[in-house]
């Protein structure tokens, strides 16, 4: 199962004050806090780790059809590229530019396709295009959310099991789909 998350670094700076008392402690484990505070750019590390946790959370929620919950400390970064949620391991790859941090999480050795957009883009329309190309035939594709708020896709009105994920923050957005 897969999940992605993007953080607009400029917007994050104005939306959140990670140095607020209690902020780090509520969202990050002791180890993660140490990692953040000992790095050369703590602010950047906060958002990289946050996007990693969010991406893994989305993959985990989709994998098990879970209700939404807010407990980021149960999503533990490390060792290395891995992340653990309730004993389940996810591989998370992150990339950074001066403008955004982006993470892609995978439960198995899935091959994924992901596209990031740096200007206002309809990512749903973009994913439709990609899926249509893959199907090689004109199809009616629509998106909805299931009862847990997880986005799902219909192809010619039939519920599809293609895993995918959307993310959007500030100026940036991205879709992720299993290849």
């Amino acid at each position: 199962m897969i999940g992605n998350d993007i953080v607009d670094l400029e917007l994050a700076r104005t939306q959140s004050n990670w140095q607020r008392k209690g902020w780090l402690q509520k969202l990050f484990t002791q180890k993660e806090q140490q990692h953040i505070l000992s790095s050369a750019d703590p602010t950047l590390q906060v958002w990289i780790l946050w996007s990693r946790k969010e991406a893994a959370y989305k993959a985990h929620q989709r994998r098990f059809g879970l209700k939404p919950r807010y407990n980021p400390k149960k999503i533990e970064c490390g060792p290395k590229e891995s992340l653990t949620i309730d004993g389940f391991v996810y591989q998370v790859v992150s990339q950074c530019t001066p403008h955004y941090a982006y993470s892609v999480a995978k439960a198995q050795d899935n091959v994924v396709h992901s596209e990031i957009f740096e200007t206002k883009t309809n990512i749903r329309a973009q994913l439709k295009k990609t899926v249509r190309k893959r199907l090689g035939e004109p199809s009616l594709i629509s998106f909805e959310r299931d009862r847990n708020g997880i986005p799902i896709m219909r192809i010619n009105e039939v519920l599809s099991n293609i895993p995918f994920s959307f993310t959007h923050h500030g100026r940036y957005s991205a879709y992720l789909v299993k290849a």
């Binding site: 607020r20 008392k21 209690g22 902020w23 509520k26 939404p68 919950r69 807010y70 407990n71 400390k73």
Partner: protein
């Protein structure tokens, strides 16, 4: 504190983080912070910290996990106030 007072205090707390004003105007107990109000998930922790300050309570991870709707938040606050 009545339920109405609690709701009004909670509304004041969440207002700065709300990105969907229509959702705020139509606030009910069933309102979902992320889905209906489009509060950024990284700002939910600010809501939690503001609630702690406003009501002088401590919200543990287990309680925080549930605080995604108005109704669940009010339940957590009432529970913590009762234990004070």
């Amino acid at each position: 504190m009545t339920n109405k007072e609690l709701l009004s205090k909670l509304k004041t707390i969440i207002t700065p983080y709300v990105q969907n004003q229509v959702g705020l105007e139509n606030l009910t107990e069933d309102t979902d912070f992320i889905k209906d109000l489009e509060i950024n998930s990284a700002n939910l922790v600010d809501v939690i910290l503001d609630v702690e300050d406003e009501f002088d309570i401590e919200i543990d991870n287990e309680a925080m996990e549930k605080m995604l709707t108005v109704k669940a938040s009010i339940e957590v606050i009432e529970d913590k106030l009762a234990k004070k």
